[in-house]
Structure formats: C-alpha cells, structure tokens
C-alpha cells in the first residue's frame, strides 16, 4: 500500500523514531541525518498517515464548526474568518450545516466530539445554555459565536446588541420618528431578545411610551419580515419607522411595502442589522448595523486554540466586538447629501 515511516527509516538507514523526530522538528537530530532523512522523504513522496498520528498523539488539528446555514451570507462571513485564522494556526476546519435544525445540531456535536476534532465552535447555536454547559462540563472544548454563555471554560464572541439597538432607535428619533415598530427574530434566539431590549431602552431614553402592538416576530427571514409587516398594517397600529432585527426581515418589509405602495423612506423608514451585501444594492439603500463577522470568526478561533494549547483559560473569555450603525437612504428623512 502506501509508503510508511518504517520504509523511510529503512532507506535512510535510521530508526522510525528518528524519522518521526525529523518530521516533528524535534531538535535532537543532527542536521546531517536530518538532511538525509528529508531527502528520502522527498524521494519516496512519504506522507505521514493522519489517522495513526491522531490516534497516537491524541490530537487531530481539526476544529469542528456548527452553523445554522452555510449559504447565509452572515454565517458564510463568520466561517471565512474562522477558516483564515484556523489556517494561520495550522488547523483544519470541519463544517456542519444544521439547516436551523436543533436535532442535527446535537447529532453533529455527538458525531465530532469523539476525537474527530480537538474543539468545536458553535455559531449561534439553538441548544439551551444548560445543554452547552453540560458539554463544557464534560471537558469538551467549545467556543461560541454570537451568544453569551455563562460558563468559565467557554469563550464567547459577540456584539453588544443592546448598545447598537439603542443607537438605532436614537438615529430614528433624530430623524423625527416617534412611532417605531420592531421586528424580532426567533423567539428563543438571544440576539432577538437583546435587540428587543435595546429597542425598549432606546424608547425609554427618549420618553416614548412603548406600545406592545409595535412588536412583531419575523423569524429572522425574509418571508417572516414580509408577513410581519402585513400583520402590523392589519392591526391598524400607527408607526412611521421600523427596526428589523436583521436585514433579511427588512428585505421582506421592502417587498410588502412595494406591494402595498408604501414609500421608503418617505412613508416608512426602515433599518436592519447585519450589513448584508444586498443592503447596499437594494433601492433605496438599506440602513443597517455592520457586524464584524469575519473578525468574530477569527477571534473565537484564536481564543479557543490558545486555551486548548496552553491548558489554562484566559481571562478575556468573553469578547464583545463593536458594531457600527450605517445610515443609508432607507432611514433618512432629509434629502440625501
């Protein structure tokens, strides 16, 4: 079959151990024998068997990544950040797409946590805090993106949803709006909850009495946003601006407004979250909040691998990255500059 370490050793006239040392940059080898071994390795085109190496060294140099939807641009960007950083740190990346299915999420974590990978990154996981803590307690190395978990060993990277949501409300109020509706995402997603919280706090800061009819759920997707806006209209509740908890739902709002003949931003100001690439191309350009997606992916890899290799948990377990409000035409009341 394939050529193995003993073959190299034999041809180079050394022991397998020496070949192993050469391959793993162990210093205790004469540069002379090292050269000889390297020469044979190249001659034979020897490639160490990863399975054997993994078994023996109890390491795989692989990171498992579980994402809700790989073809969603938000997650694709996070993954890109993970890939880049993993590559820089010499790790491979196994990606599992759950299609927003919690069963699959659990299945994948079980599938990988048997020495298939050294650690895992859960991107906005669907499972509960308790479940995640359960895995962490079993000494599985887990990192989280887009959510905060209260567990000493679990590094988390996320953005300050409350903070930027207040900024969104602030911006809308500055544009003259007092009646602002809110479209939330999945009811159980932490992002939904925190953005709602920021929205409410924003209203309060401006002494705008909150009205529950202003809130509708749009499940973070376009269809949901579309339906939510229609429900809002049917309720005959008055509002002049809408804060959608992500750009996808804002897209649905655009569609509904198109059908209903509602002009954006003249009759309804719209703002989303994510800075999805489409937001810049749609007319009118959609105001949004930029999330440092690639940075988030990179940061969690860095932290997780560091923790894995150095054993100890770093003090900066939780990383909160900054988001920026991007004001475009969809929420500008004045003629654009």
């Amino acid at each position: 079959m394939d050529i193995k370490i003993v073959d190299v050793a034999a041809k180079a006239g050394v022991s397998p151990a020496t070949v192993s040392r050469v391959l793993n940059n162990n210093n205790n080898v004469t540069s002379k024998t090292k050269d000889r071994v390297m020469k044979v390795i190249h001659e034979l085109g020897y490639q160490p068997n990863a399975a054997a190496k993994n078994l023996r060294s109890q390491k795989t140099m692989a990171i498992g990544v579980i994402v809700p939807e790989i073809n969603n641009s938000y997650y694709a960007e996070v993954i890109k950040g993970i890939e880049n950083q993993a590559y820089a740190m010499k790790y491979k990346v196994i990606i599992c797409d759950t299609s927003n299915n919690k069963e699959k999420e659990l299945e994948f974590i079980n599938l990988l946590m048997n020495k298939t990978v050294d650690c895992m990154i859960l991107v906005t996981p669907m499972m509960s805090d308790e479940e995640i803590c359960h895995w962490a307690d079993m000494d599985y190395s887990i990192g989280i993106v887009g959510r905060y978990i209260h567990h000493d060993k679990v590094p988390c990277v996320h953005t300050d949803n409350v903070k930027f949501s207040k900024e969104v409300v602030n911006h809308l109020v500055e544009q003259g709006h007092r009646e602002i509706a809110f479209l939330s995402g999945y009811a159980d997603a932490i992002d939904s909850y925190e953005r709602l919280e920021g929205y409410l706090k924003g209203l309060r800061e401006h002494h705008i009495p909150f009205r529950p009819e202003w809130i509708e759920n749009g499940n973070f997707n376009k269809q949901g946003g579309y339906e939510a806006l229609k429900r809002l209209i049917e309720k005959k509740v008055s509002f002049t601006a809408i804060y959608a908890a992500n750009d996808e739902m804002a897209l649905g709002v655009y569609q509904a407004c198109g059908e209903l003949g509602i002009k954006i931003p003249e009759q309804l100001a719209v703002i989303g979250v994510d800075n999805n690439r489409i937001s810049r191309y749609i007319t009118p350009q959609l105001s949004t909040v930029n999330q440092p997606k690639m940075k988030m992916g990179g940061a969690i890899v860095e932290r997780l691998i560091h923790q894995l290799e150095n054993g100890e948990v770093t003090d900066n377990r939780v990383i909160i990255l900054e988001s920026q409000l991007i004001v475009r035409d969809s929420s500008r009341s004045l003629p654009q500059t």
Copy 2:
C-alpha cells in the same frame, strides 16, 4: 481518561470484539447480548474513538472540499449542496478555503490526502488538468465541480457554458443588439474560456462579425468588471450590450455606468451569469443565467461516494446540468410587462 471499548466489554461481560460487532451492526450477535451491550453503552455514555477507528478501518467517513472563496454566494450554495448530500450519506465535510490562491490549493490537497479524508471535491480548481490527473493517477479519489477533466476516474459536474452563452447572445440579438461586448473571468479558468467560446459561436450564428476590441478581462470580480467597462469606453469601441461572464463583474459594470451616467438598459443592456441573489435586488434587475449550484454539489458527492464504496467507476462520470436564462430588466429593450 475517556471510556473505551474494553470498559464497555468488561461491564457487559463480553469481549471487546463483541462490542465492536454490536456497534457495527454485525449480524452474528444474539439479540440478547446485543441488548445487554447496548444498555451498557448508554449507561456509560460510550463514544467510539474516531481516530482509532479511522486507523484500523482505513476510512474516515470524511470528504475534503477545496473552494476558492467560501463567502462567495456561488460557492456557498455549492457547499450547501455538498453538505446536504454528505449528511444524507453519513459523511463529514472538511472545507478548505484557498482565497483564490493556487499555492494554498496544493497545500490543502497535500494536507488532506493522508487519510484525513476518504476523497476530495475540488470546486473550480486553479491547478492544471495535468496536475489533477497526476493526483488521480496516484489513486486519490477526486471529484470536480464546475470543470471538465479528461480522466477516467474523475467524476465531473458542470454546466454547459457554451450552450447558455449562445442563448445569452441569442437573447441580446432578439432585443435588437448587434454590438455585444464580452467580459471574461480569469484567463485560465475553464468557465471563462467556454463562455467566450459560446459568445463567439453565438455571434457567428447571427452572422455578426466578431471584433476583438469587444473582449475585456474582468477576473470574475466586481472591481474587475468596473475597470473592464472603463477600458472598453476608453477604447471608444462601439457596443450596445454587454455579456459579463458572471454577476459580480456585472455589478462592477453597474457601478461604472452609474458614474458615467450610462443608463441600463436604455443605453447599455447588461447580462451576467450565476443568478447571484443580488441580481434580483439591484435596480434595474439584472438578467442572468441560473446555475443549479446546490444540485451540482449534491451530484458530485453522490457520484464520488458511490465510486468510493462500490469500487468501480460509474459510466455516467460526467454530469452536465442544465442552466436557465433569466431575463430581467437590465436586458429588456421594450418597456417591461
């Protein structure tokens, strides 16, 4: 440390071999002992060590996927198709993002081809046919998406670039255009070449004399399309329509036209390829060619795994999937319906 097969065997009062048989659905086990073993497995929460299993069985149940850019929506869709089909066939997916870097591509293939994965899928690889054939000759299981390779053992899935490119030209001619420029992608990408070929054949079918000034390279990205259009204008060559070999370049054309005050489609008809999600949202909506991206990903996995598990090469090694021309406002001369 972790609990292993001997622990299960001991507690169940059987040999490790029996536990292994139970786990691998080997029939030669009494249902009674099987039940007992299963019970212990659950009690102990036993998870077979993947590294040991891989080493012993010479299988990993993993597919390596090498893509140029994971956050590009085209590739993200292909990957989604791969993920879904791999999941259905119980395979894991290791994704490597080359960032359009050929060095990285070679590095990754070397990295994974050592029993880290059972087979690999190269999505529009940058390496030459010779290089790919070289790997295939070494008995590495390789599948290709988006390109045709002349090698018995290498399954390929792609679309008929020549065919749909002729349709594109045909459509533009029907709209009254006779002067059609072409924006190609990377010079060495097979897609570029074939789309150019289809464009030329399309012109010929309509007896339109081809002019070399009509062709510019835009490297498949937005900036490239932007610059290519500007060069085209500077050359003072006359053209009323432009066929961009992908939507990204068409986006660059839009930008350049915006700056130059060229109206689409009145002064310039534009059509792209890929049916990127943005194409539907931009104004005017971009005509394009839809590629069955997810289907392509699924098809290659199916074929590759089949070949891997059944040993023999299937006769339908090359799969050519259909693309559809999607006509939108950017290439319609008449007022839209």
